[in-house]
Each structure stands twice: as C-alpha cells, then as structure tokens.
Amino acid sequence: MQADGLEKIGKDEAKQASFEHSVCFLNVKYVSVDGPVWGNVYSVSDAINIEGLSHYFGNQQVLKDVSFSVAQGRQRALLGPNGAGKTTLFSILTCLLRVAEGQATVFGNDVARASGKALARIGVVFQKPTLDLDLSVSQNLAYHGAIQGMNPRRVRDRAEQELKRLQLWERRDDPVRNLNGGHRRRVEIARALLHEPDLLLLDEATAGLDLASRVSLQAYIRSLVQEQGLAVLWTTHLVEELQADEDVVLLKDGAVQAQGRLTDLVRAAGVGDAKDLLLGLSTPAGNL
C-alpha cells in the first residue's frame, strides 16, 4: 500500500531523510516528495512515545504520570538523581517490567502489546555490564545476533563492520575477561548496534570509564545520530558529558520535572549552570 505523493524508501534512505519530512504509515516508511505531509491519517513517527506512565513496586510509586517522547534521529538525555526512576523506565521500554498505567510505544509499537516488534528496533546497553566474560568478543556478538533471530552469516558481516568501526576487530578472539572497562563498553555498544536498531538506549553506558574512553564513546554515539539517523535515549550522572544544547528530560522522584534544551532549563531555573541544575534536583526540596 502506498499513499499518493509519497515515495516508499529503503531503511538507509529513511534514516538519511530529515525527520520533519518522514512519516510512518502501517509500519512502512514513506518520505514526502514535496515536503511535509499533513492530515489525520499519517502521524509523525516518534522513536519513543511515553504517555501518562506510572509504575509501582508494591505500595511505592516509582514512576508518576511520566510523559515525553524521543523523535527519530534525535538524542535525548534522561537526567536525575539515584532513585529518580531512570532504570525503571528503561526496564519498561525493554519489556523487562510490565506497564502498570499509561502507555509506552517504540516506533508506534506498544511495549505491552507488541513487545516483539518494539524490541526488534531497540539496541540497549544496560547500566550493569552484561557480557559473558568467559566467551570471546566474537562469541558474545554471535550469541546476541542469534537471540535477535539473525542469520549467522549476517551476524558475522555485521560483527565485522561494528568491530572495525569501534577499533575492536583485532581483539575479536580475545576473551572479554581480558579487555579493560573501556573496551568492554565498546563491545556492548557494538552488540547493541549489531541488529541495526533504530533506537539506542544507553543506561549510564559511560559509568566507570576514564575520560578518554567517555569522550570517544560520546563522540561515536553523536556521530551515529547525525550520520545514521539513530534515535538515542541515554542517562548519565556526569555533567561534563552534557552539551549546552543537549535535549534533556529531568526526572525526580519518578516524575518529569522539566524537559527541553539544557541551556533553556538552566536559564528558567535561574541557576548558574547545568551542575547547579542537577544539584538542585538532588536536594529534597529541589524542584524546578
């Protein structure tokens, strides 16, 4: 099925196309030949759309009516102190936790009802390292490709591409146990990108890395967003990783406090810089 005035395009082309001109219709990607498409039938495709999401652990409410979205081809940072609900949110998006109230969709696929379709488009790096230390780099990637349902030949090709891009190709046969923290994180990034996801979730992926490794990883992720149109939702505790025009969602005690450009939020809060903004969030009365 193809709509009038729309040209069906390939996945790579779609990623290159500007977000404003892309729409999603019945999971088929189209790009307007002449510009934006208007009307009720087509809706702009958000990589993530969260509306009124609440979650409970027993009687404790850990997410409170959370709503925000991440557009395709954009990067958003989810900031907040420990216990703000970031990991819970990631666990819901990766279908490890059930949705209690509200809705979360990944490219229009409800994570509660179409979890398989949602997960197929997500690459994820969890806060805790999840590599098998006894296996080699290649074996870890091969396992991930298999549980994604990928053809082994394609897994080999993709693993080679990603490992070369991340300068790990020479270490492909090394047991992960022999790699340092920075290299392990890079393997996790390679693994997360192996099945060519459209959305990357990074839960404090740079935690525990030295400055050089952090800068290198950050630059790599930003290049993926700019060059491949990947959508990224990431969390960090490190203020120095944030850029002035960073698009952020501030979370505290399970609720969204504010969202927008970091500089705008700093100005609106009347604080000196991003560090003061986050410090304000960390104090009990520090609402924005």
């Binding site: 216990g83 990991t87 279908c95 197929a120 549980i147």
Partner: protein, 268 residues
C-alpha cells in the same frame, strides 16, 4: 518473526552453552567424578545387595553396577539441570539475563531453548560417563546408547524445568543453594536410583510410596529400560507428561520483573 529466526535463536543458545561448557573444563570433570565415585566405591560396597535378582528390563540376574548406572545417569542430569538453573539465578543477579530477555523472540521460546541447551550439556556428560562405565563391566547393547538418547533428553527437560521453576521462585543465589539441599538429595534418595522399589517396599511401606510418587524415579526407569532396549509405558508417560507440565509452569511462572528490580530501591 520468521520460523528461521526461531531456529537461529535455538541454535545460538545451544552453541553458547557448548562454548561455555568447553571453557569450563573443571565443570565437566567434576560432573563425572561424582557418579564415578558412586560407581567405583559405593557400588563395590553394595555388590551383593541385589542378591541375584533379575529386575526389569533384565531377564537374568544383574550386578549392582549394572543396576545403579541408570540412577547415576539420573544424578548427572539432575545436578547439571540444577547447576544450569543456578547459573540462571547468577545471570539474573549479575544482569546478563536482561540481554536474553530483551530479545524480540517470545520469552517462552528463549526459556525452552535454554532448557534444551542444558539438556545438550547433560547428554555430553552422560555419554562420557557411560563410556567410562564400560570399564566396570556395564556394557549395554550398542543400540541401547541410541535408544537411551530420547529418555535422557526427556529427563533433562523435566529436571531443567524443575530447576527453572525453582529459579523463578527464589530471590537470591544464597537461597537457591539452600533449596538445592531440600530438592536434589530428596529427589535422588527417594527414588529407584540406588535401590529397586521392590526392596524399598520390604523395608518401609511409606518410603516406597514416596519413591513411587517421585517423578525422578520414572525418569531413571525410562533411562534404565531404554538403555537395555526395553520400554516401560508408565516411565515414558510419567516422564514426558511431568516434563510438559513443569516446562509449561516454568515458562508461565517466569517473571523477570519480579526478581530483577523488586526490593532494590536504589535501582529505580
């Protein structure tokens, strides 16, 4: 998802378990030492226990070594299944389980693949043990080794599903180790692995009934009959039915969210 995706996933999980098995050589050795000790030491001491009895599926009197080998096959499978479940608890505690569960394939399929991968490792251990057992004059017919394969796989699925069910219920690694003592040893000792049920009944009626109600008894008997080219319908039906029931219960009962984040307020 296409059927091929399920197949690649299944193969991938099996391959990973094999790779881990190759890496962990001490696991292989220790898996063999336990039954070999039973065979070499325990069976030597109890050589006259059967007193010339001809027990099914055998038509003539057998040695205690011949009797006990299927029971020791059972204990290899039992320990490996529990160890596999233990590694699942470890994976869950360490977080690597998240990667498996973040697969777009149905969770049930992932768990069933995991059960079969554990069964594959059990098979390797069992056949290595059966080859060594030939040195102790336990020489089943050649086709018996082939006939025993489905029985061993069924037993491994049954016990693996039991372990999976336990892993679903148990919160922490430390608790799992404790429960092993209340599950593994009663399952093993209250079965026909070491003594025939007929002799058990002569000693104690209620112990006999406990043994007769133990699914592990039927798994051992299924292996015993198959290995000697016999067939026990009751052993077959009980083993396969309980395997299906436990697998279904384990898949339905497996809720990672209940254990991964609950009780960890700092992880929100």
């Amino acid at each position: 998802m296409k059927a091929a995706a399920y197949f690649y996933c299944f193969l991938g999980v099996l391959k990973r378990e094999l790779q881990r098995f190759v890496q962990q050589r001490t696991r292989f050795v220790s898996a063999l030492v336990r039954p070999l000790l039973w065979l070499a030491v325990f069976a030597a001491g109890f050589r006259n226990t059967l007193d010339g009895l001809a027990l099914p599926p055998h038509d003539t009197a057998i040695s205690y070594e011949v009797y006990i080998v299927p029971g020791l096959v059972g204990i290899i499978v039992l320990f490996n299944s529990m160890q596999s479940s233990l590694s699942m608890v470890y994976d869950r505690e360490m977080g690597s389980m998240r990667i498996l569960l973040a697969s777009p394939l149905p969770r049930g399929w992932l768990l069933i693949s995991r059960l079969f991968s554990s069964a594959l490792v059990s098979l390797l251990q069992v056949y290595a043990f059966l080859l060594i057992a030939r040195l102790f004059a336990v020489t089943p017919p050649a086709w018996g080794y082939v006939a025993a394969l489905p029985a061993i796989v069924c037993s491994a699925i049954l016990l693996g599903a039991l372990g999976l069910l336990l892993a679903s219920i148990i919160d922490q690694l430390e608790n799992f180790a404790g429960v092993m003592n209340f599950v593994v040893f009663p399952l093993f000792f209250l079965s026909s692995a070491l003594y025939p049920l007929s002799q058990m009944r002569e000693a104690s009626e209620w112990v006999y009934w406990l043994c007769a109600a133990n699914p592990f008894t039927y798994a051992v008997e299924f292996v015993r009959h198959s290995l000697w080219l016999g067939f026990s319908p009751s052993a077959f039906w009980v083993t396969t039915t309980v395997a299906v029931i436990l697998t279904t219960a384990a898949v339905i009962g497996f809720d990672p969210s209940r254990k991964m984040l609950a009780g960890r307020p700092g992880a929100h």
